[in-house]
């Protein structure tokens, strides 16, 4: 189970609303490489993970991703606080406003709703870890794209923190991959399906 801590993992305090930026940054909430997909990916994959330390890593990174989803949500929430109708219209926030007012709803920057097909849970340790490594890089690229478009230091600061965490998670998943490959049968050159075909793997 989880218990809530009444704090963000990294502080967010934005004093200048910016509905245009909110509409772009919301992609890291409900977009294809966002934090919702990240947390659901790792927290779904862990059940079939045959190695207990990697199941632990998926649990702990998946949990941190929930905290990142909260940071992104806090950024979007604060960027759209107390908007006037004029700001909603001129800031390009009008289409979102029609469907959600200024509530949080998981979608991409392009308006595509969150979809479980943004991630995979495949029941094969090598397939899943490759998915996870790619996911961390895709999220890092998305944060780089966001950072090129923003100048407000109050937004840049938490986004840079989140970007850095993608790199750390990539590093840890890379180490998990090495641990798995060390256990493969030496005849398993192509690193195939060890989870279902237990013969090919030394536990």
């Amino acid at each position: 189970m989880w218990s809530y801590e009444r704090r963000l993992q990294y502080p967010v305090k934005i004093t200048k609303p910016n509905p245009k930026m909110a509409q772009l940054i919301i992609s890291q909430f409900g977009g294809p490489d966002g934090e919702l997909a990240a947390s659901m990916r790792y927290l779904s994959q862990r059940y079939s993970m045959p190695y207990k330390e990697i199941a632990g890593l998926l649990t702990d990174i998946g949990t941190e991703e929930l905290a990142h989803m909260e940071i992104i949500s806090a950024i979007v929430f604060q960027l759209t606080k107390n908007l006037s109708l004029e700001e909603i219209k001129t800031g390009g926030f009008d289409a979102y406003y029609i469907d959600h007012t200024t509530a949080l709803w998981p979608q991409s920057a392009g308006g595509v709703p969150f979809n479980a097909c943004f991630f995979q849970s495949k029941g094969d340790v090598l397939t899943d870890l490759h998915e996870d490594l790619a996911a961390e890089q895709k999220a890092r690229t998305t944060y780089d794209n966001i950072l090129r478009l923003i100048t407000d230091p109050e937004i840049v600061d938490p986004i840079r923190f989140l970007r850095e965490r993608e790199i750390i998670h990539y590093q840890r998943f890379g180490e998990a991959m090495v641990r798995v490959q060390e256990r493969l049968d030496s005849k398993n050159f192509y690193a195939l399906n060890p989870e279902i075909d237990k013969l090919m793997v030394n536990k």
Partner: protein, 84 residues
Amino acid sequence: MSDNKCDAMKNLLEVSFALDDLRLFLDTHPYEKEAISCYQLYKDQRNKVLEEYEQTFGPILSYNVNDENQWTWVESPWPWEGEV
């Protein structure tokens, strides 16, 4: 939010983050003695900082709510409201 509350929260976030980062490292390096002793050190620090914060400014964890007449868990602003 007062300066004192801000500082207390900052201390809590810093020491908690050290543990969050070390936890992932230890998941893939379970025998690294230095990291294990760091984890213990920050764990003790966090317990202290958390207790100090909660005594003065209210609960971080609902398990630690210690109320007599009023349910303080829902009283102060929520973390996403930008008070810190």
